[in-house]
Amino acid sequence: MPRILAYVIVGSMAIASLMPLYWMFTTSLKDQAAYMAQPPEMLPGDPTLANFGQLFANPNMLRWIFNSAFVALSVTGLNLVFATLAGYAFAKMSFPGRRWMFWIYLATMMVPFQVTIFALFQLMVTIGWVNTYWALIIPAMALPYNVFLMRQFMHTLPNEILDAGRIDGCSEIQLVRRVVVPMSTNGLAVVGIFTFITTWNNFLWPLVILNTEEMRTLPIALSTFQSTNETDYGLLMAGGVLMAIPMFMIFFAFQRYFLQGVTFGGLKG
């Protein structure tokens, strides 16, 4: 294939891919007359930050940002701890039941949330966790996918180093702290980044379990900006920009973890 043709195909698809983000940013800078103008202004003729002002005029805005950040940080921190410990146990320790426990665990990743969500909701009603941070944090504090990822990652650590540590009299917990964690920074970064993003963007469970305005997380709050009569798209897009900016910052700070990819030749291991 001639190189110029490749550039044309890939380049036009890249423009199509970035167009919605561009449109979100520019719409967020337009007032109502500007975003409804026909034909649409490709560049905002008279850019304004009024939509962002209106966003923060809402007394709950800071609370929503806090809710999202608090839940996402808590879930990420807890997952780093528990996925490391469990991943290490599944990868490098032998104990009766290890194999079948791991397989059951893998199988649960396949179960659609729709199957258990109502029973989980009922459980939250029973223990009084409806509309609390507990409901958002505790069930998610050791996500199966993260345990799986850490297990795959730690499988590649050399046994000789672990054995040397044991001979030197390290207990297993010391071994994890002094040897395993320092050697697993890549895996921890991947788990941390993706857990934070997934939790920040989580929608269905918060939608079901939260029922007061001040407990909402950003995605839920944003979804209520759409109204039955007339949606203020400038305001909606400003909210989208606000929600997306921390994610873009994380993306650009940790680009290589996103773009390197993994290969599936050696998954069997």
């Binding site: 190189r3 550039y7 890939v10 890249a14 199509a16 891919s17 970035l18 919605p20 983000l21 449109w23 979100m24 719409t27 410990l85 469990a86 146990a89 320790m93 032998s94 104990f95 009766p96 059951i104 665990y105 649960t108 396949m110 179960v111 659609p112 729709q114 199957v115 258990t116 109502f118 029973a119 459980l123 505790i138 504090m141 345990v147 044991r166 207990s171 297993e172 993003i197 929608f203 269905l204 079901v208 995605p219 979804s223 209520t224 759409q226 039955t228 798209y233 909606l236 897009m237 989208g240 929600m243 997306a244 994610m247 994380i250 993306f251 773009l259 390197q260 290969t263 599936f264 030749g265």
Partner: protein, 316 residues
């Protein structure tokens, strides 16, 4: 506390478990979470699916009545068909497009490759919530960007999300471009990584044997990419069957009144959306649970079939 299995060591199960006490401590939290928040709700949900539970609250055992009820429900069949169409087109479209894009990107300079990977992946970073709302705005029939662009090339105007024959397709197109798990962003990265891992000496040997570009692509690239493609298809199918968020955000007219979502006229109601409406809005929990079990059965069958192929093809 070493893990050596000497012949003289006591081999009773109790001793082995005691010696592995650290390991059990390490998996304790995930295990408890699994029992309380996965297994227990799963068992309860199975129970719900065979009991009557309507808006008045829990009822008694009714056998397979709920399953019979959903199979009589035309909306359920509509949702099932929508789900299958959605999974096939989104997964097929995304994987197909990623293969074409990756093949076109492969020979480009490293910096161009990085830039394009970033361009395709950025929508996935922005979250499906944000992206769904932006696309909804672009699809807006009167003031949206898409009808303006369509008019420039002399077609349209389209109804997009407001038209029963275009609504599901509109959501599919959005997902192919933007879904964080199964969109082209994530897929291109994985396919390119797989292409890069193919040893160049295979191509050199094939060239010495007189194989042309097309033959090398067909005989070397395609077979060695199969594990990655199968992986993408498994993950994508599972993800497609549980799709809820974008449909909720792009088709409901207001939060709290999501009964109007999944339309117009159920054209975007998928199985996952159907179970949500039945469980949380109509409070037909028995019916919802039965539908969720059907969803699980389909995902399970698809996953098992694909895993079989995955395992037989993975080694090269």
């Amino acid at each position: 506390m070493t893990e050596t299995n000497t012949a003289t060591g006591d081999r009773t199960l109790g001793r082995r478990i005691w010696r592995a006490r650290w390991a059990y401590l390490f998996v304790l939290v995930p295990a408890v979470l699994f029992l309380v928040f996965e297994l227990y709700p799963f068992i309860r949900a199975t129970g719900y699916s065979v009991s009557s539970w309507t808006i008045r609250g829990p009822g008694e055992f009714v056998g397979l009545e709920n399953y019979a009820a959903i199979f009589r429900d035309r909306i359920f069949w509509k949702a099932l068909m929508n789900t299958i169409a959605y999974a096939v087109i989104v997964v097929g479209g995304s994987v197909g497009l990623s293969l074409v894009l990756s093949a076109a990107m492969y020979p480009l300079a490293t910096r161009a490759k990085s830039f394009f990977k970033m361009a395709f992946y950025l929508p996935a970073v922005a979250s499906i919530v944000v992206v769904a709302l932006v696309w909804r705005w672009m699809y807006q029939p009167a003031f949206g960007l898409f009808n303006h662009l369509a008019a420039i090339i002399g077609i349209g105007p389209f109804g997009f999300l407001t038209d029963t024959s275009q609504s599901l397709a509109s959501i599919m197109l959005m997902q192919i471009f933007s879904n964080p798990t199964i969109g082209i962003g994530a897929s291109v990265i994985l396919v390119l990584a797989a292409m890069n891992s193919i040893p160049t000496h295979l191509y050199e040997a094939a060239m010495l044997d007189g194989a042309g570009t097309v033959a090398r692509f067909r005989r070397i690239t395609v077979p060695l990419l199969r594990p990655t493609v199968v992986f993408l298809v498994i993950i994508g199918t599972v993800e497609a069957f549980r799709e809820f968020t974008a449909i909720y955000l792009m088709t409901s007219s207001s939060s709290g009144q999501a009964l109007s979502g999944g339309g117009p006229f159920y054209s975007t109601t998928t199985l996952a959306y159907y179970t949500y409406v039945q469980a949380f809005l109509a409070r037909q929990v028995g019916v919802a649970s039965a539908a969720a079990m059907v969803l699980l059965a389909i995902v399970f069958v698809v996953a098992v079939i694909q895993f079989r192929r995955f395992n037989t093809e993975i080694e090269y």
